[in-house]
Amino acid sequence: MARYILKRTLRSLITVTIVFIAVFMLLRFMPLNGYFPDEMIKETDEATRMAYLRNQGILDHPLVQLWRFVKNLFHGDLGRSLTVYPKVPVLTLLREKIPVSAAFGFVSMLLGIVAGLAMGLFMVRFRGKPGDHIGNIYILLVRAVPSLIYLFFIQIWVSRWLNLPLVYYENRPLSWILPVICLALSSIAWYALWLRRFMVDEENQDYVKFATAKGLPKKQVLRKHVFRNAIIPLAAYLPSDLLNIISGSLVIETLYAIPGTGGLLTTAIKQQDNNLVQILVLMYAVFSILGVFLGDLLMAFVDPRIKLTEK
């Protein structure tokens, strides 16, 4: 086991390094004018802009920049934002934004798991009955309609209908309800869909037929045998979900004006804020690879039949 973890860690490190270097180099191919807003290009002359870029170290050879970045990283200096929040240290920025996204993400993740599993269980219990059909229609709508569309209509219509605030206010808990629910919608559908599918698969297994033949009530068979075996494959996604909460949701945070990390990466890429993009890509890559890794470990932990070291 220890050997497996070590091997896997080394491979993950290589992957993260390649992702990081690829993004780092791609950023160096960006046009130089992209570092300035349009008004600034009109107002200043070429020489001033070049001097600024040279001062920021953007004109150095990419490898020199890479070395400098790595050196600073190990000194705990993540650099300063270039264009999105000029001169603000990246660390301060992350410290401000991550807690907001993480709080929303965590609550909605819990809501998603609880409501999603309950819904999946309900749908299996009443398979082929109206309750199951309603659940299927919900899953279909959430998965087939582009999220932006239904999120927008929920924001406009549900907030008016329930008289909830249209956007997020830091000091009004009432305005936190809709974003949390919106964030949970797709994960509810995801958990319900897969729990239902895995439970239906489990229901055809011999041990379930045996339990039914023994005379156990259907409810008990579902809860004690089928449900417990069906949630094992879902456990693999739990660590990823948990780590992903820090990256926030772009659409929801934009719609409700939540000052989280959601749109940060995209905005930073569009405005060529190299320092910010680098840190974010590094962070997200580490977290996403770590999430898959922890998921595999967790799966081996909850299901003794799964052996990672074999093969």
């Binding site: 992702v19 993004v23 569309i149």
Partner: protein
């Protein structure tokens, strides 16, 4: 010993069984039926009235969106300088009304459908096509497995916005850049899906049994593996359509999608959002068309997957 006796007693009971003449021709008759996989698949698929309805709706929408630009003379980009023609509500002349610049939304919706469906089909073809070939190699070659898994991790971790912005800088944002940015990473996701399925089909018991019985590889491939893969291809291609339309809407929202003057469903929805509170129909009507397309493809893809499973055939 006792069981055999019991069996004889049962078979010999004249009340239950009747003797029959030995017929050589009849004894050679095996349980062969003229079962055709594709016929049964389509029969199961079209048995549901909803599937028939959705197929008809999708065919109508696709035909309409490709024929409309040919038969109609309404220019979807024609703006009007007369304020009286702005923001017209849906009526006889403009079926879906006009937008803030007096452009006909009915015409725009069809042009948008055509462009969005075209983009979605191109992406579906490239993702599923390349993904299928790469997935077959990946599934059949154990050696490249670790390399491909790492490649998958790398590719899915580089944000596609990076390519989009870079491509937009190299050449202007267009159909092509959006296609490259979306297709460059879609194929590996599909490849992984096909790899998993191919692994499980190749090593499934009926194929091992078939191989043990000495069935030639060619026959296993054409009768057991390829039909399965083709139905997966059709399903994945159908599911690619709602995904790529959704991505296009999302990219438009982020501001790295198609240029504003190109008519796509994503652009229509995003432009309609701005004037939604005043003129809801400007966004609502094209959005309904978009949702019908994505939902229909999603349902048909899933239904086809169910129908292609021989266990659901009667």
């Amino acid at each position: 010993m006792t069981t055999i006796k019991k069996l004889e007693a049962v078979t010999a009971d004249p009340k239950l069984f009747r003797g029959t003449e030995f017929d050589y021709a009849e004894s050679e008759n095996t349980g062969f039926t003229n079962y055709s996989y594709w016929k049964s698949t389509f029969r199961t698929f079209f048995r549901s009235p909803m599937v028939v309805l959705l197929t008809a709706v999708i065919t109508a929408i696709v035909l309409m969106s490709f024929l409309y630009p040919l038969i109609s003379k309404v220019d979807p980009t024609k703006t009007s300088i007369m304020p009286l023609e702005w923001n017209l509500r849906p009526g006889k002349e403009h079926w879906f009304g006009t937008d803030t610049l007096g452009r006909d939304i009915w015409a725009r919706a069809w042009y948008g459908c055509r462009n969005s469906i075209l983009l979605a089909l191109c992406i579906a073809a490239s993702d599923v096509g390349i993904g299928m070939i790469a997935g077959a190699f990946w599934g059949y070659n154990r050696k490249i497995d670790p390399v491909m898994i790492e490649l998958y991790n790398i590719m899915t971790n580089i944000p596609s916005t990076v390519y989009l912005v870079l491509l937009a800088y190299i050449m202007n944002t267009s159909f092509l850049t959006l296609f490259i940015a979306m297709a460059s990473r879609g194929w590996i996701v599909e490849a992984r899906f096909f790899r998993n399925r191919i692994l499980s089909i190749r090593d499934s018991e009926y194929n091992i049994a078939s191989r043990c019985l000495g069935t030639p590889m060619r026959k296993i491939l054409t009768r057991n593996i390829i039909p399965h893969i083709i139905s997966l291809i059709i399903m994945e291609a159908a599911l690619c359509v709602p995904y790529s339309i959704g991505s296009e809407v999302f990219l438009g929202f982020v501001g790295v999608g198609m240029p504003v003057d190109v008519i796509t469903l994503g652009n229509i929805v995003n432009q309609g959002r701005a004037s939604f509170t005043l003129h809801p129909y400007q966004m609502l009507l094209p959005t309904i068309v978009l949702c019908i397309i994505t939902i229909a493809f999603y349902v048909l893809g899933n239904r086809f997957a169910d129908a292609s499973d021989p266990r659901n055939h009667v």
